[in-house]
Subunit: 203 residues, 2 copies
DNA sequence: GCAATAATTAAACAAATGATTTAATAATAT
DNA sequence: ATATTATTAAATCATTTGTTTAATTATTGC
């Protein structure tokens, strides 16, 4: 057995895509087997059960999704604005390559918030991050309004993540094709940091 | 039979909540019956089938969700800023009373975009709305930057809707309780129009 | 008050769905 | 060559779930 057996790898990557798109209950082991071009029994042969395979993928996904926040937001040597730019670019990269990730994570939390918290508790609390500390200091000095930092985090996440959550909605409502929307989303790399900065001038 | 038979009404309202929370496939007729405190057979007695009941509720939900946009965004006698205020207040009202609505709509679109489009095609195209026309005119004059109006619509929707889509995520990441988050969301009635306005000063 | 219709119930049906296992075969490595 | 690993087709086995039936109770019109 190789450490990254070809078949094993193909099952996992296929399962990742399908699980992220349809969730645990919405996914049939037969779908995974068919999409991966492998025999159904091999799924259990390599991963013991559907649940074990799912848990494996979910942990990796959570790690990918939250791992970047940690690094960017707790960097002691960047300014607030630099962190905005870093955050936007990192997240647009991750989400562009993995469009179903936000919905997957949100559904996962919804199913069992308690179980989820226990899985990410290793990550540092975002509310205590260097980013939030820097924001509070600016607010103290009077450079930015004294609003709850959650607004800032929420606005930043909204502007970055929402297009991926709501892309089918947006496509329908604005009569925009997937490829046009992709172009528009990429314009946001430059625009979102500017927008967030200008929002911090009003209260 | 009364026009709004008590039992019939209770089934529909219970079904609305459960369908919006769990979707069609994720909902069992037995769940609805139990939650409504009625006998299982009554669901079929009043609504013929699970599918018919679901379709009924879905149409009403779509109507509630998109009906407000139409009115606000095509009002000839309000300014852009007045429309922002109207939009934010209307949507926060609807979504606060119906927190699972955005997720429900997005999932519904995902399942069958084509079928969904045919259900909302009665609504006027948002991209041709008075709101967007007014924005384009302001851009021509040079009062706002010449960006794709989709950015404006997307930012507005993001800031209003995202907190409801991602509330479980936000609660977990920022260690915020549901009631605290509710207070924060209500602060946004006043803030979002200001933010959007200030965003329109940069490009 | 009676008869017809409507509302409600418990129980059964049935049909599919879908994860997992088994036992046999092929491939690979020692 | 043989022991281990990988792969396959088929069966199993439990369960879930929407729907119907047939009997009972409540309501309404006359």
């Amino acid at each position: 057995m190789l450490q990254e057996n070809d078949t094993e790898f193909r099952i996992k990557e296929t399962a990742r895509i399908i699980f992220q798109k349809n969730g645990f209950a919405g996914t049939k082991t037969r779908d995974i087997a068919e999409a991966a071009g492998i025999n159904l029994a091999l799924l259990n042969y390599y991963f013991r059960s559907k649940k074990k395979l799912y848990d494996l993928i979910m942990l990796e996904t959570i790690h990918d999704f939250f791992g970047s926040i940690e690094l960017v937001m707790n960097n002691e040597s960047t300014t607030i604005y630099e962190k905005l730019v870093e955050f936007v670019n990192r997240y647009l990269d991750i989400l562009s390559a993995n469009k179903d990730m936000p919905m997957f994570i949100i559904n996962e939390i919804k199913i069992d918030p308690h179980a989820f918290v226990s899985k990410i508790e290793v990550f540092k609390n975002v509310s205590d991050s260097v980013f939030v500390q820097q924001f509070k200091e600016e607010a103290r000095i009077g450079n930015v309004p004294k609003i709850n930092p959650i607004h800032l985090l929420m606005n930043l996440s909204s502007l970055v993540i929402f297009p991926f959550l709501a892309s089918p909605l947006i496509e329908v409502v604005t009569h925009t094709s997937k490829s046009e929307l992709e172009v528009i989303i990429n314009e946001r790399r430059r625009l979102i940091p500017l927008w967030i900065q200008s929002m911090l001038k009003v209260s």
